[in-house]
Symmetry: C2
C-alpha cells in the first residue's frame, strides 16, 4: 500500500534559464528541472509539445539588456515558437487532436488559456513548416523584403545568411519578383544549395573568399540595389561598399555580433548612406503583423505552385534543445532549425 501523499507520476521536463550567457551561450546557461504534470482548469487546454523553434533572436532575450522583447527571467522557462497538440481541453475553441502554434514555454506539457494560439492544418503542410516558411521565418523574409525594400524587376538583391531559414526565403521571393539574386553563405555546400535548390543566380562562400568587396562587385557588376542583412559585421561592410544610389537595406539580424559583449567596431555607415541616399531599416516581424494575412496568402500560394521551397534541420529530443540553439551560432543548421520532441 502506498503511503498517503505519495504519487506515482512521470514528471514534466522543463528548461529554464540558469544564467545569462556571457558571449557565446554554453550548456551551463540552461538547466533542466522537473515539475508535476500540469492539471487543467476550466477554460484551459493541455498542450503536448511536438516541435520547438530555436532562433538567433532568443540570444537577445537571454541578456538583461532592454531589447524589443522583455528579457527571459532567471530560473524561469525559456520560451519560443512551438507546435503542440491539444491532448485535453476545457476550452470550447479547441478539441483533443487539434494542432496549434504559439509562443510557449520549453516544457514537454503545459496548459494555456488558448490566448495567442493559432490552429494549424496538419494536412496542408508538415507541422514543422508552421515554425518556418509559414511561421515566423517566412513572415520575416516576406515582411522585410516587401515592406522595406519593395523590390523591382531587374534590380540586384544580395542576401547574407542566405542558406538560413529567413535568407533562403528572401532570395526565392526576390527571384519570383524578377530580381538578380546573390546569396552569401558559409560553406561550398550551402552555396551550391543556394543555386541548385533555391534558384539563386550567384553564391559567395565568405569563409573561403579573401576579398569580399571584390567578390560582390564581380557578382553584382551593376551594383547592389537591395541588401537584406541577416548578419551584420564585415560581410555587411563589403556589401555596403557596393550599394547603389537609392539602395535599401532591411536590417533583420546581426548574428555576427550577438555574442559580442561590447558593441563591435566597423566602418561608419553615415557617409555611404548620404552619398547614395541609402535606406537602412531595422525591423522585427511583429511590426508588420497587420499584413500577415496577406503575407501568408502569398507564401502558401507560392508554396503550392512550387515556386517556393524550404529546408530545415530537425534535431530530435527535448533534451537537445539547448545544443540545437547553440549550434545556430556555429552555422550548423541548414535552413530552419527545429527540435522534434
Amino acid at each position: 500500500m502506498l503511503s498517503p501523499g505519495f504519487k506515482i507520476s512521470i514528471m514534466n521536463k522543463v528548461i529554464v534559464l540558469n544564467s545569462r550567457p556571457v558571449g557565446k551561450p554554453t550548456l551551463k546557461d540552461f538547466k533542466f528541472i522537473e515539475e508535476d504534470n500540469p492539471t487543467l482548469k476550466d477554460g484551459e487546454v493541455l498542450l503536448k509539445t511536438l516541435y520547438v523553434s530555436v532562433d538567433p533572436y532568443l540570444r537577445g532575450r537571454m541578456s538583461e539588456a532592454k531589447s524589443y522583447v522583455a528579457p527571459f527571467e532567471l530560473n524561469k522557462p525559456i520560451q519560443s515558437a512551438i507546435v503542440a497538440e491539444v491532448t485535453d481541453s476545457k476550452n470550447g475553441d479547441f478539441k483533443i487532436g487539434d494542432f496549434i502554434t504559439g509562443g510557449l514555454d520549453w516544457k514537454q506539457f503545459q496548459t494555456s488559456s488558448g490566448k495567442g494560439l493559432t490552429k494549424v492544418d496538419a494536412n496542408a503542410a508538415d507541422l514543422s513548416a508552421y515554425l518556418g516558411i509559414l511561421g515566423m521565418t517566412g513572415l520575416t523574409a516576406y515582411s522585410g523584403l516587401i515592406n522595406i525594400a519593395n523590390p523591382q524587376k531587374g534590380e540586384t538583391l544580395v542576401v547574407s545568411g542566405a542558406a538560413g531559414a529567413v535568407g533562403s526565403v528572401v532570395g526565392q521571393i526576390g527571384k519570383i519578383l524578377g530580381c538578380k539574386v546573390i546569396g552569401i553563405a558559409g560553406s561550398d555546400e550551402k552555396v551550391e544549395m543556394l543555386k541548385s535548390k533555391f534558384g539563386f543566380d550567384e553564391g559567395i562562400n565568405y569563409k573561403t573568399t579573401t576579398d569580399m568587396k571584390k567578390a560582390i562587385k564581380d557578382a553584382a557588376p551593376n551594383g547592389v540595389d537591395i541588401y537584406f542583412d541577416n548578419v551584420g559585421g564585415e560581410i555587411s561592410d563589403a556589401v555596403l561598399a557596393n550599394i547603389n544610389k537609392f539602395g535599401r537595406v532591411p536590417v533583420c539580424g546581426a548574428i555576427a555580433t550577438y555574442n559580442d559583449t561590447e558593441i563591435p567596431m566597423g566602418p561608419r555607415v553615415q557617409s555611404t548612406l548620404v552619398k547614395n541616399s541609402v535606406l537602412m531599416q531595422g525591423f522585427i516581424v511583429s511590426n508588420y503583423a497587420d499584413k500577415f494575412p496577406e503575407a501568408i496568402k502569398k507564401l502558401s500560394g507560392w508554396l503550392k505552385e512550387g515556386q517556393l521551397t524550404y529546408s530545415e534541420t530537425i534535431v530530435n529530443g527535448f533534451e537537445n534543445i539547448p545544443q540545437a540553439f547553440m549550434d545556430l551560432f556555429e552555422g550548423k543548421n541548414e535552413g530552419k532549425m527545429v527540435v522534434k520532441v
Copy 2:
C-alpha cells in the same frame, strides 16, 4: 596712341580647383586665374556674382571618388549656389536688374543660357536668404525632417550641427510641430543661441561634455525619437545609444568624417537598428525636388509669421571664398556661411 591688338580691360577673376584635397582642404588646393570678360551671345544673360554659398558638401565634389554629384575637374571653376544680378541680357526671360539664383561658377562675371536659373525677389527677403533659409539649406532641413522623420507632437528630436544653417532650421521646425528639441553644437555661445534665438529646449556643447551619452540621456529622459544627423562620428554614436523604438534618423551629412582619407571606424549600428526597429535614411535635398514648392510655401509662411528665424555668417570679398569654405570645417560659421562678392 595704343598699338593695334592692345586692349584695356579689367580681367574676370575665377577660382579653379588646383589640386584634390588630401584630408583638410588648404589654400593650395585653390587657384585664382584671370580670363577675359565674357561676351554675350544670343539667348544668353550676363550675370554679376553677388553672393556665393560655401557648403560642406563641396568637399565631396573636390575628391575624385564617385558621389551623388560628379567630381569637380582639376583646373576648372568650382561651382556652388550663387545669387547674381543680370547686368545684360539677350534672353527674353530675363532683364537687366533681375536677381537670380542657380548653381554657377566661382567667377565674378559669367554668362548663362538661363537654364536652371530661378528669379528671386529682393523685396521679399534679403538676397543672401535665397542661399540659406529659402534655398538649399532651408529646403534640406524641411525635406529631411518632414519626409523622412514625419515628426509627431510630443516626440523628442535631437539635432547635431544644430547651430549650422541646416540644423538651426530643423530645430525650429521641430518646435513649430510640437517636439521637444535638443541641439548639439560646439561652443557655449552657440548653445546659448540655440535656446535664446532659435527656441531649442536644450543645448549640449559637445566640446566641453565628457560623457555625451549621459548628457543626451539627461536632456532626453524619454529617449530620442528623431535624430537629425548632420555630423556622423562620435556625436552620432552617443545619440544612437539613446534612440527609442521606431526611431527615425535622417542622415544629412557627416562633416565629422568628410576630411578623413579612409572610412573611419565606429560602433556598428546594425544591432541598434534591429533592437529598436530604427530607420536611417541618407538623403540629399534634390531627392525631394518634387516637393520644393510646398516646402518653400511653408518656410516663407513661417518666416513671415516670425516663427522661423535664421542666422548667417557673411564674409566679404571674392578672394576670401576658399578661406570661408575651409572655415566651415573649423566650425567658424554661425548659421549659413555666405561670401558677399
